[in-house]
Amino acid sequence: MANIDELKSVCSQVRRDIVRMVAGAASGHPGGSLGCVEYFVALYFDQMNHKPESFNMDGKGEDIFFLSNGHISPVWYSTLARRGYFPIAELESFRKLNSRLQGHPATKEHLEGIRMASGSLGQGLSAAIGAAITKKLNNEDSIVYCLHGDGEIQEGQIWEAAMYAGSNGIDNLIATIDYNGKQIDGSTDEVLSLGNIKSKWEAFNWKVLEMDGNDMASVLSVLSEARSLTGNGKPIMIVMKTEMGQGVDYMMGTHKWHGVAPNQEQLALALDQLDETLGDY
């Protein structure tokens, strides 16, 4: 397992990348991105068995990841670049013309690390199930990971996929819900209550774990536990409690920064709170 302090140091830089990318484009989704940093860094710098230097679409013999809530692309792009999938300098092009870093992840521009477009919500769990089935057909013991927003599970397709995976024992799949309780129009309770998420997924025959998504030790431990539980006949869902905007004080405790970019002044305030550990792009 990687050194926890080193991982935290990567997290700080990824957070800097996120706010700089979003401010640089004057658009994007900083809130959810900041909340999921520990999860991404733990996955790509510790948990996943993958080949950053030789990305290929099929990912045979590798663990693979799908981002279903594509709007938090900044955290994914930063993590991929920092892990060596593509040049760090390319982060500067986020959401700009002729960039491979589209507002929402895409495959058309051949950005290393991306295997499926996402943005229109609710589709990534089905894709992850499909990839997990193919791994079984190919006699691979690799794992498929996917991440979803909590608001995203209001989409019906998520429950079609939940029913399928639970009924068919797709047990090489570790899905995670970013449970920050916030979406564009307000709290998830105000918009459309998610009810008891844990019992809902358990009722669909999933093994459900819970973790504190902003505590690196908890993330590492729960992701490792999830990995150890694969191959037992059930898909795994991690309900990951996070704080939207984590790490930037004025973005926390509100849904306001779901999809709003900080201006230059606000960016400076944010950067003051985040150590430059690996060098800005």
Partner: protein, 318 residues
């Protein structure tokens, strides 16, 4: 010549799909099939029986089926999804758009019971907009074969093509007239009969109607160039232009809305390169209804006599 075309039997195009899929199962272990609770209707039973490990029953959940199929391509599988045309397109348009077309995934969306000839189930199931929906998606290949043999050949051909495909076929038994051993070339039109007075360009079930019309027209001294466009996208523009440059007028025939179908694709080619009078034999901006296929074809104006009428009209406009 058209008068020599022999009809040995009547068969449904969906059975051509089922037979092609079964052969693919034997020939290519990467071929997998998914179905949303319509295995019998899609004639996927033989594949399911002989390749149970590669057959995936997803239940009545078409959006999930398309998404799973897209994901299965990662690692080299070639998924064929099967359900009715309505549920293969309109119901799952966003899933196809994002997870299949935009993501460039090698998924074969196989759609039965297209159009009015689904019959008695009525308009909820009789999609007449699917060709338009699918051809608008960048990178999507759209295929609508005319009979059992051609559907079987098309099913096998699309497995060898790397990219998303929409394959449209139907429920009723129709004349099976194309030779069984004909190679299916995606994007290459079949010239069924050479003629000089009018081009009749048809797709799917309307190809046989076009042949019937051409026979009657010939008896009345009108020589029709009859072309089977089994691939609507990419369209064989060269075949269209070669024909219309000879005849100087065209009738397009399809079991689809007039808006957005084969006719519009042909019109686009002609308006750019060789403007010529065109008449549409297609459903004119309306939903269908319950009834027998033959009754519906007649009521909604996509029958043999409608083609003859359109030919007379378009020739008069030259």
């Amino acid at each position: 010549m058209i008068k020599d075309i022999e009809v040995l039997e009547e068969k449904d195009t969906r059975s051509g799909f089922g037979a092609g899929l079964h052969e693919l199962g034997k020939e290519n272990e990467n071929v997998v099939a998914l179905c949303a609770d319509l295995t019998g209707s899609l004639k996927m039973d033989a594949f399911k029986e002989d390749f149970p490990d590669r057959f995936f029953q997803v239940g009545i959940a078409e959006a999930n089926m398309i998404g799973i199929a897209a994901g299965m391509t990662i690692g080299g599988k070639i998924p064929f999804t099967g359900t009715f045309a309505n549920f293969s397109t309109g119901r799952v348009y966003d899933q196809i758009r994002q997870s299949v077309a935009y993501s460039g995934k090698n998924v074969k969306i196989c759609a039965s019971h297209a159009g009015l000839t689904l019959g008695e189930d009525g308009a909820t199931h009789q999609i007449l907009e699917d060709i338009g929906l699918m051809k608008m998606l960048p990178g999507m290949t759209v295929i609508c074969p005319c009979d059992y043999n051609q559907t079987k050949a098309a099913t096998k051909a699309i497995a060898k093509y790397d990219g998303p495909v929409y394959l449209r076929f139907g429920r009723p038994k129709v004349p099976n007239f194309t030779p069984a051993d004909t190679e299916f070339v995606i994007g290459k039109a079949d010239v069924i009969q050479e003629g000089t007075d009018v081009s009749i360009i048809a797709t799917g079930h309307l190809v046989w109607k076009a042949i019937e019309a051409a026979k009657i027209l010939l008896e009345n001294g009108i020589s029709a160039d009859v072309i089977n466009i089994h691939t609507i996208k990419p369209l064989d523009e060269e075949a269209v232009l070669r024909s219309v440059k000879k005849t100087n007028c065209v009738v397009t025939c399809e079991e689809h809305q007039r808006h957005g179908g084969l006719g519009d694709s042909v019109a686009q080619v002609l308006s750019r390169f060789y403007p010529a009078p065109q008449e549409y034999v297609a459903v004119n901006d309306t939903f269908g209804e319950s009834g027998q296929p033959s009754e519906l074809m007649a009521k909604y104006g996509i029958d043999t006599e409608n083609i003859i009428e359109a030919v007379n009209t378009v020739i008069a406009r030259k």
